[in-house]
């Protein structure tokens, strides 16, 4: 139970980076993003959390959204894409993540190398 709580805290911060990184590859709608993170071990974004997060990122100008009628779909979908601001934030977050990962890996593996 304790590890579950820790995991959800860990994920809260990482979810934003995951979403921005997925949107860098291609424009997506919410369910599409969910399916992509679900295919990956441990990435616990849920349906109840992804839309509030996208909503906030849109309001902060990190992503923009457009309703698109996909051929074959019965209804329009809200597609998200990165803005210039979002792209800049993603680059900063990637650098921070790299540094964080290296430091923590060195620490928990006790500088074995």
């Amino acid at each position: 139970m304790e590890v579950e709580r820790w995991k959800s805290q860990l994920w809260k911060g990482a979810a934003e980076l995951a979403i921005l990184a997925l949107l860098e590859r291609r424009e997506s709608y919410g369910l599409q993003l969910l399916e992509e993170v679900r295919g990956r071990e441990g990435l616990g974004l849920s349906e109840g959390t992804i839309y509030p997060l996208l909503n906030r990122l849109q309001k902060e100008g990190k992503v923009s959204a457009l309703w698109v009628e996909d051929p074959g779909a019965s209804h329009p979908r809200k597609y998200y894409r990165l803005t210039g601001d979002g792209r800049a934030l993603l680059q900063d977050m990637k650098a921070e993540w790299g540094a964080f990962r290296r430091s923590l890996t060195d620490l928990i593996e006790g500088d074995r190398a």
């Binding site: 109840g48 959390t49 509030p52 906030r56 329009p76």
Partner: protein, 196 residues
């Protein structure tokens, strides 16, 4: 096409959910509320179409959580963003206060932030009180070497002397403003950390 057109395609079991979601989103501006309802309707249509008969409307809704709790996430983010955008210390402190009960971290972090607000408010009050009640307000040094700052009643300041005089006014106001700026910075960092 608007949210109502999308809703027309949804199974009846989901309409009550969307109605409760819309009600929960009532603090938001109309356009934003409809946008969220519409996106939720599109999500449910895709969820139900993708899984065919494997997912019931109840199953698809279950993943989103109770409509009131789901709506509350958007509303909470909206209130935090509005407070951050306004930059008003009252709006920021109100949001910190509102979030105190949401988690252990929110309680500890929020309490520290509110203590800074309280000190800032106290300093400003002392600065404003000096011209109104000059003899009671000040920095009092006690006979035993202790000191007290503020608006002190006569019985408590027996034997102590006031050392700052009217210098108290600018000093307390400057300290109050600096503390207020610090409290604002802290509350911004706190609110950003708690937003979802």
């Amino acid at each position: 096409m608007n949210g109502h057109d999308l809703c027309a395609q949804l199974p009846p079991g989901t309409l009550e959910y969307l109605r409760r979601l819309r009600a929960g989103l009532s603090p938001l501006p109309e356009s934003e509320r409809e946008e969220i309802v519409r996106e939720t309707a599109a999500h449910l249509l895709d969820r139900l179409a993708a899984s065919g008969a494997a997912t019931s409307p109840e199953g698809a809704l279950g993943e989103l959580g109770e409509p009131e709790a789901y709506a509350a996430r958007f509303v909470s983010n909206y209130r935090i963003s509005s407070a951050l955008a306004s930059g008003s210390p009252v709006a920021l402190a109100t949001q910190v206060l509102r979030l105190l009960g949401t988690s252990a971290w929110a309680f500890c972090g929020g309490t520290v932030v509110l203590i800074f607000y309280a000190f800032a408010f106290g300093m400003l009050m002392v600065g404003f009180a000096k011209p109104i009640a000059p003899s009671q307000t000040g920095l009092f040094l006690g006979p035993g070497g202790g000191f007290s700052l503020g608006i002190i009643d006569a019985a408590s300041r027996v034997g102590s002397r006031e050392v700052l005089g009217y210098w108290l006014i600018p000093l307390a106001l400057i300290a109050g403003v600096l503390l207020l700026l610090l409290a604002k910075r802290l509350s911004r960092a706190f609110l950003r950390s708690i937003r979802r």
